[in-house]
C-alpha cells in the first residue's frame, strides 16, 4: 500500500487454513509463473535456462490490494530486466505463489519455493507481518531475502543477517513531519496533538519518535491510544479525538478504510485539525481520493519514501511503463509498485556485480556498504539490513493533486498547506 511504508506491519484479518483450502479448491489462489520476455533493441537477448525468483504474495485476503500491487511491481521489473538482457545473460522468471495474507501460509510457500521449485533467488512478501516468518525460512536455507515492505523494527529484531529492506525504515517515517512542526515559530506552532494508532507493527513504531519530538517542542499530548486492528466501529475513537480538540492529529493507520473512517467521523463532528497526517491510506492515490471524497482529502498528509511524481529517471520510466501497461494515471499508482520494483533492481545489481547467484556471496555483497540505485532513490544497507540511505518525504493532498511538501528545502517540494483547509474546501 503505500510507499516506503504502508501496511508493512499490517496484522488485520488473517485467513484460516480452511480458507486456504477453499481457495485452492476454487482455483482462486494464483500460482502464477510469469516470464517477462521481450528483448530490447540494443541489449543482447537473454538465453539459457531462466533464473527462477521465488515470491510469496498476498494475492487474496486482507493484503490483497497491496499484494497485487507488489506483483505488478515485480512483473514490471522482470519485464524490464529481460528486455535489458536478463541476469547474467539468462532470463529471469518470477515464481509467484499466493499466501492469502496468512503468516502461516507464507512459511509453507517459501519452503516450497526453495525445496521444491528450486528458486535461485527470493523476493520478499508484503508486510512486516509476513516478512518476519519469511525471513526466518530464508535464513534457515541460507537465502538472501531482499524485500520492500518489511521495514518495521520487528523484522530486524531477530538478528538475522539475510534480510534487506530497500525502503525507508518505518521508525523514521514521521520524524520529518514532527521536526517541521517543531520548527514552526511558537505563534504558529500547534499547541496540542492526538495520537490514535492501530496496534500494528507498522504503525506503532512510528508514533513514539514523532510524539517525543513534538512534546519536546511544547506540543501537549491530549489523546494517545492504541486501537485494535480489527475495529467494529471507529466512530467512538474518532469522536474522542474530536472531543480532545487536538490541533494536530497523527493517525497510525495501515489502510484506506481506517483513514477514511476517521475523516468521515471528523467531518460529521465538524472537527477540523490544523494538521492531519496518517501513516497509511492517503498514499493510495486514486483509491483514497475516491473513498474519502476529493474535497475532504485536501490538506491531508502522509509520510512516505516515494510518490509517482518523484524526480528520478528510473522512477519516471517505471511510472510511464506502468501507465502504458495497466492504464490509469500516474497519481493512481500505489507506492507498493515502486517498493517491489526496487527489490528487483537491488538484487539485479548485486547479482551483476558479483556475477553470482550464490546467496552467501550475495548476502556478503549486500552487506558491503555499496550504494545501490532504485526507483525510490539510493539504497545502502546497514548492519541490520535496513536502508540507511533512504530518502524521507511528506506528501500532501492539495485539491486533487498529491504533492511533495517536505523536506521544505527540497526543490521538488511545494508550499505546504497549513493550516489544512476545512473539510469540503
Amino acid at each position: 500500500m503505500h510507499g516506503g511504508k504502508i501496511r508493512r506491519g499490517s496484522s488485520r484479518r488473517r485467513r484460516s487454513p480452511l480458507a486456504l483450502a477453499a481457495l485452492a479448491a476454487g482455483g482462486l489462489t494464483a500460482s502464477a509463473v510469469g516470464v517477462a520476455g521481450a528483448s530490447g533493441a540494443h541489449a543482447p537477448k537473454a538465453k539459457g535456462a531462466p533464473i527462477v525468483i521465488g515470491v510469496s504474495l498476498s494475492l487474496s485476503g486482507d493484503f490483497s490490494a497491496d499484494g497485487q500491487a507488489f506483483q505488478r511491481g515485480y512483473q514490471l521489473w522482470a519485464a524490464d530486466q529481460n528486455r535489458a538482457g536478463g541476469l547474467l545473460g539468462r532470463p529471469v522468471q518470477l515464481d509467484v505463489v499466493s499466501d492469502a495474507s496468512s503468516p502461516t501460509q507464507v512459511v509453507t510457500n517459501y519452503e516450497k519455493l526453495i525445496t521444491i521449485n528450486h528458486a535461485s533467488l527470493l523476493f520478499g512478501p508484503f508486510s512486516t507481518l509476513l516478512t518476519v516468518p519469511a525471513s526466518k525460512i530464508a535464513n534457515r536455507f541460507g537465502y538472501a531475502l531482499v524485500e520492500g515492505a518489511g521495514g518495521a523494527p520487528s523484522v530486524f529484531a531477530n538478528g538475522l543477517h539475510n534480510v534487506f529492506d530497500v525502503s525507508l525504515p518505518v521508525v523514521d517515517n514521521l520524524v520529518l513531519f514532527a521536526k517541521w512542526i517543531a520548527s514552526l515559530p511558537p505563534s504558529q506552532r500547534p499547541k496540542t496533538a492526538a495520537y490514535p494508532t492501530s496496534n500494528d507493527p507498522f504503525t506503532e513504531p512510528q508514533i513514539g519518535p514523532a510524539q517525543k519530538i513534538l512534546e519536546a517542542a511544547g506540543v501537549k499530548t491530549v489523546y494517545s491510544h492504541v486501537f485494535p486492528a480489527e475495529v467494529t466501529d471507529y466512530t467512538p475513537i474518532a469522536d474522542a479525538v474530536a472531543a480532545s480538540k487536538a490541533q494536530i492529529v497523527v493517525l497510525g493507520s495501515v489502510d484506506v478504510p481506517t483513514a477514511t473512517a476517521f475523516v468521515q467521523a471528523f467531518v460529521q463532528q465538524h472537527y477540523n485539525p490544523k494538521a492531519f497526517i496518517a501513516t497509511g491510506g492517503p498514499d493510495q492515490g486514486a483509491t483514497f481520493l475516491k473513498a474519502v471524497g476529493a474535497s475532504n482529502a485536501n490538506g491531508i498528509m502522509v509520510p512516505n519514501g516515494w510518490y509517482p511524481g518523484y524526480r528520478n529517471a528510473s522512477s519516471q520510466k517505471m511510472v510511464a511503463e506502468y501507465v502504458k501497461k495497466y492504464g490509469g494515471t500516474p497519481s493512481g499508482i500505489n507506492s507498493d509498485v515502486a517498493e517491489a520494483y526496487s527489490v528487483g533492481q537491488v538484487m539485479a545489481q548485486a547479482v551483476t556485480a558479483t556475477k553470482s547467484l550464490n546467496n552467501a556471496t550475495l548476502i556478503k555483497y549486500l552487506h558491503s556498504g555499496k550504494i545501490f540505485s532504485s526507483v525510490q532513490g539510493p539504497v545502502q544497507f546497514d548492519a541490520k539490513g535496513m536502508n540507511g540511505a533512504a530518502a524521507a518525504f511528506v506528501f500532501q493532498w492539495q485539491k486533487t493533486n498529491f504533492v511533495q511538501v517536505l523536506p521544505s528545502t527540497d526543490p521538488n517540494s511545494v508550499k505546504i498547506q497549513f493550516p489544512k483547509a476545512n473539510w469540503g474546501g
Binding site: 477453499a22 492504541v226 467512538p236 469522536d239 472531543a243 460529521q268 465538524h270
Partner: protein
C-alpha cells in the same frame, strides 16, 4: 467524560441497529434450517457493492437502490440454497454447512475481486458525511437513517414471521422440522424462501456498511466473526436476541473505548460473551426460548 460516555452509548445503539440487521438474516437461516451461514459476511459486502455500482453507474440513491438490491440478493439467496445448501444431507447439514457456505463465500469473493478489483471503494451520497446537532451531540445522518431503516426492516421481518401464514410455517419449521412436515408444511420451500430472506436483508445492512466504511471483498472476514458473535450471544435462531446482542456489543465496545482504551474494547466484549454464555449457555434468547416464542 460524562458527555463522551453518552455519545459512545448513542453511537453504539445506532451502529448496533445496523449490525442487528446484518445478523438477523444469519440467525433466521440458522433457526429455520440449522445452517451456519459463513457466507453472510460476503453477502453483506455483495450488498454494498451492488449499492455502490447502482450509485456510481446509474446514479441511483443508495436507499432507493435497495428496491433493486434486496430482491437481487433474495434471488441470489435462492440460487445458493438451490445450488449448495439443499444438497446437504439432513444428518450432518449443520457441520457441512460451515464448509459449504465458506466455499460460497470464497467464490463470491473471487468474483467480486475480478469484477471490482481489490481496490477499496466507498458509497457516497449527500447524507453520508452530514450530521445533525441534537442536545449538544453531532449525530451522523447516515447512522440515523440506517438505524431507522433497520428498525423498519426488523419490524417488517417480525410481522412477516408472526403475522402471516408463511411466517407461521417458518416458525413451525423453526420449532420442529419433522413435525412441520407432518402437518403438511412444505419445509423445503419454507427453507428456501427463508434462506432467500436471510440473504436479502443483508442488502440493507451492506448498503450502510458500504457508506460508512471503505471496503473491498476481503472486508467480509471481519464482518463474519462479528456477526457470528452477535447471533451466538443473542441465541442462535432468535431475532430479538440478535438485536439485543448487537446493541449490547456495540455499546459495550464503544463505552470501553472511551472510558478505558480502544485496545480493550474488543477484548471486553468477548470477555462479556464468555461470562454471558457461562450463565446462559444458549445466549440471551437461546434456541429453546426462541422456539417457544
Amino acid at each position: 467524560m460524562g458527555t463522551s460516555i453518552v455519545e459512545a452509548i448513542i453511537d453504539g445503539i445506532l451502529t448496533g441497529g445496523v449490525y442487528a440487521l446484518m445478523a438477523a438474516g444469519l440467525t433466521l437461516i440458522f433457526g429455520v434450517m440449522d445452517i451456519i451461514n459463513i457466507a453472510q459476511g460476503i453477502f453483506v459486502v455483495l450488498g454494498a457493492y451492488l449499492s455502490y455500482a447502482l450509485s456510481v453507474h446509474a446514479g441511483i440513491d443508495p436507499f432507493l437502490g435497495l428496491l433493486i438490491t434486496i430482491p437481487a440478493l433474495f434471488v441470489i439467496g435462492l440460487g445458493v440454497e438451490w445450488g449448495f445448501i439443499r444438497r446437504l444431507r439432513e444428518g450432518d447439514r449443520t457441520a457441512m454447512s460451515i464448509l459449504v457456505t465458506y466455499a460460497v463465500s470464497i467464490i463470491i469473493e473471487g468474483v467480486l475481486n475480478m469484477t471490482f478489483s481489490v481496490n477499496y471503494v466507498q458509497i457516497h451520497a449527500w447524507y453520508v458525511n452530514r450530521s445533525v446537532h441534537i442536545l449538544g451531540f453531532y449525530l451522523a445522518d447516515i447512522y440515523l437513517f440506517g438505524f431507522a431503516m433497520a428498525a423498519v426492516l426488523l419490524v417488517a421481518l417480525y410481522a412477516l414471521l408472526y403475522r402471516t401464514r408463511f411466517g407461521a410455517s417458518v416458525r413451525a419449521a423453526l420449532q420442529d422440522r419433522t413435525a412441520a412436515r407432518l402437518v403438511g408444511i412444505d419445509v423445503r420451500r419454507v427453507s428456501t424462501v427463508s434462506f432467500g430472506i436471510g440473504v436479502a436483508v443483508t442488502a440493507a445492512g451492506g448498503m450502510i456498511f458500504g457508506a460508512t466504511n471503505a471496503f473491498n471483498a476481503s472486508s467480509s472476514y471481519d464482518l463474519i466473526s462479528r456477526l457470528l458473535a452477535i447471533v451466538i450471544l443473542g441465541g442462535l435462531g432468535s431475532m430479538g436476541g440478535a438485536l439485543l446482542s448487537a446493541v449490547f456489543m456495540l455499546v459495550l465496545e464503544d463505552v470501553v473505548a472511551v472510558v478505558w482504551s480502544p485496545i480493550w474494547a474488543t477484548a471486553v466484549f468477548f470477555a462479556a460473551l464468555v461470562v454471558v454464555l457461562s450463565v446462559r449457555p444458549a445466549g440471551f434468547f437461546g434456541r429453546q426460548v426462541a422456539r417457544a416464542q
